[in-house]
Symmetry: C2
Subunit: 480 residues, 2 copies
């Protein structure tokens, strides 16, 4: 923690100590039962007063992180293992063995919780977000200050269930650039894409219904859908989109209600749908009468279809059968919790009612900040810079990955993720990494059935640390 | 709209026009098909330029509020009727006729949507919130400005699923004053009590399970629970708490999983649980093994148990069988969307995982604002002022209500609501009121079975307008 304390961060020293000790415990860098430095030694090491340390330790005890043992000092509390409830009726993948649902040492909740921590980004090659210093903190700060100077009375009463109107008007323009026509009344703000996916799934499925997802895909939604009682089935994802023959076959058998798909910059592979695949997927949706939920959260990491091909389902279908989801957690600021749904007017109205039952409204504050940032035009340049920076590290990172024995099947020319084959069980690899304080994202996480996999996801923006490469050099292929 | 436009509100004239026209359409003060004033006449009436009016009308067209008919001008668009989806398996009240579920002209969604609008507060004696000018806008503005000066980098990455730690520490103190011991790790922030209720219901019930609510009770949760497939059953609420004989009987029959109850300042009656009733309710929960969900959203409108009796279930049981919910939408600022859950450490962990699946995290911004306001101590004085102001209008309002023929069964000495018997069908009364641009809250809304009722809820803070009294004088008793 040396050097992490700052006297001008706007946070008290006590809060800084509490936060960084708590983060280290959450990251398991400090394990249950470990003894904390004495008050005096901590104070001396960090150049703070013993009173500051006492207050910090007390807060950490109150928050359940530490315990004080009389005469012996402060110790990290033993914590209970965390696991998601068993899915009901369960997540199954076409042809997957049920055995895969057995308890695993690494689970989705564990990974997601760790991603939420202020763990040093260089130690998280498995992270799903960009490092904070790649984002435009100054723009967010300016926008928030501008919002804070507005009439605060607007915050005293509830907003409208559809969300802050000027933002929805701004999103109309953004969507128009993607050739998607959506009036503000067709747009509904949400607390990130996460709430959007939950609202759509709750509105358009009943327990027992089937939801298709890509295989591999973003892991958090598997748990969210399973918790609604949906059957979650994975459609194998190839380099240019789903395996459509398999999609047709499985659609005939399972009659899904929804298919959630990343058309552009798929998580975890950063590949995009080809135009031909997009058309075939839409035809199958028509034929088997399911709704396509197009999750375009990585939109702004793509340079645009003028530069690289990108076909959005919603641009072809104009929000008839496609529900389009977007958000700003990846390229603007995750903590604003601003995402949105664009859909037909009739569905937008149903979803607004559903949102009302779920959170009444979302807070205008984050939505006003996003509106400011979007409407002032600096965001476009920021996104350009982020893409240029990703481009500048990608090629070198891919070469280094191949050098340490990671096989890259589809090297996508945009996005932050690389999906690579380590040639060995990546659960075991991730466990070894964890012991060395590195967070990896093993392939099993992205499998709807959580099947073991030799693949894993890497974030090219989080692989600058030599320790990461030393680990990979040593471990890839070595784990059986 | 005359006089509503302001050049120093921080909002552009166009936005002000758009917002107030949209609100009037949403309130049905401007009906579908109505012709809007011409550009020139609107501009002249409001002292703005025709360009401002054109831009405003265009925005209203884009937002779906108006339509432009070539040569004829602008008209209010006809809108589809709104209704909640039919509940499945449905809301039933012990012994209630199914016929009550038939479509009604006034439904929950209609009322809630209207409450979200910037309708003049004096026209909403049925509203569930305090007028904005009763709240401390300056404190919220100061807190938001302080937050906006903090390190914006903290907003770039996700917060923690449990919520902003210093706020949870502050809530620990607040709860301790209510004699409820809860460490920060037992507290989870939510997007208002609404998200809290949804998380609890999703975590602790399965489709087909029974949830008990008070009858009457807060209407929005009926729809939220029904959407989860729960059976919602009302327990008759008397002046000192639920009818415990009936509760025992219905618990034996229905084996509920949860009972959601306002112990202090019940909505809609503002009555509170007696100590004896609280004890009996806890014993029944024990005997029939259900969880008590104590919704204490009106907490800060109560002067404290030193002044008036107030027994909280969580204070008796110390969060073993009681899940305690609180929030700041009523007395601080609804738009911050900050509520919380306090429960056992084990349940808090499960609910944090559930929250993660639902919205990942909540935004720190609102939580930091609430933390600032709470920790700076001005909030306590503000709450005192709000209570004093309610006290100052309550007695006079009650007298006036009786004078116009409204019968008050339990005149509670605190809170903003009065539950009164109009001696006639209050759905019909509310429809008549609506025609005169007054929003009433008829008793059927608060009935878990939405049964017609002669009762209705009044907000003593929203009954200062002579028009309200003129209407009630004329209408109460006159409607058959």
């Amino acid at each position: 923690m040396v050097g992490l304390l700052s006297r001008d961060s706007g946070e008290t020293l006590i809060d800084q100590i509490v936060r960084s000790v708590a983060a280290r415990i959450d990251e398991r860098l400090l394990r249950g039962g470990a003894r904390m430095p004495s008050i005096r030694s901590f104070a001396a090491t960090h150049g703070v007063s013993p009173f500051t340390v006492v207050a910090s330790y007390d807060k950490l005890v109150a928050a359940g992180y530490l315990e004080s043992r009389r005469g012996a000092g402060f110790f990290v509390r033993e914590r209970l293992p965390m696991a998601l409830n068993a899915a009901e009726p369960g997540i199954t993948s076409a042809g997957a063995a049920d055995a895969a649902l057995a308890t695993k040492p690494i689970d989705v909740v564990w990974l997601v919780r760790n991603m939420f921590r202020q763990m040093p980004h260089q130690q998280m090659p498995g992270t799903g977000v960009l490092p904070s210093d790649w984002l435009d903190g100054a723009a967010i700060a300016n926008a928030l200050r501008a919002v804070s100077r507005q009439n605060a009375n607007l915050l005293l009463s509830y907003g409208v269930p559809q969300g802050f109107l000027p933002l929805r008007q701004q999103l109309q323009h953004k969507l128009a650039e993607l050739e998607i026509a959506a009036a503000p009344e067709q747009i509904l703000t949400t607390a990130g894409v996460t709430q959007a996916l939950g609202l759509v799934a709750r509105e358009f499925t009943r327990p027992g219904d089937t939801i298709f997802v890509d295989d591999p895909a973003w892991f958090l939604m598997f748990g969210s859908f399973a918790a609604l009682g949906a059957k979650v089935i994975g459609i194998p994802r190839l380099g240019d989109g789903p395996d459509v023959a398999r999609l047709a076959e499985l659609a005939a058998i399972h009659k899904p209600r929804l298919y959630v798909i990343n058309s552009v910059l798929h998580n975890p592979s950063s590949t995009s749908l080809s135009a031909a695949k997009a058309f075939q997927v839409l035809k199958l949706a028509e034929e088997h009468d399911f709704i396509l939920v197009e999750d375009d959260i990585y939109c702004d990491l793509h340079p645009g279809s003028a530069v690289q091909p990108a076909t959005r389902l919603a641009a072809l279908d104009q929000l008839q059968r496609v529900i389009y989801l977007g958000g700003f957690s990846k390229t603007m600021a995750a903590n604003l919790r601003v995402g949105f749904i664009a859909t037909s007017p009739e569905r937008a109205e149903r979803l607004a009612d559903r949102k009302m039952l779920s959170t009444l409204t979302t807070s205008d504050i984050g939505e006003r900040v996003v509106y400011k940032v979007l409407s002032e035009g600096s965001y476009r340049k920021h996104a350009d810079r982020v893409r240029a920076r990703l481009d500048s590290v990608r090629a070198k990172t891919l070469r280094q990955m191949e050098r340490v024995g990671l096989k890259i099947v589809h090297a996508a020319p945009a996005g932050m993720f690389v999906w690579a084959d380590a040639g060995c069980d990546t659960n075991a690899l991730a466990e070894r990494a964890m012991a060395e304080h590195l967070l990896l994202a093993p392939g099993s996480l992205f499998s709807p059935a959580q099947l073991p996999s030799t693949f894993m996801r890497f974030n090219v923006a989080a692989m600058q640390e030599p320790a990461v490469w030393r680990f990979l050099e040593r471990a890839v292929g070595a784990v059986k």
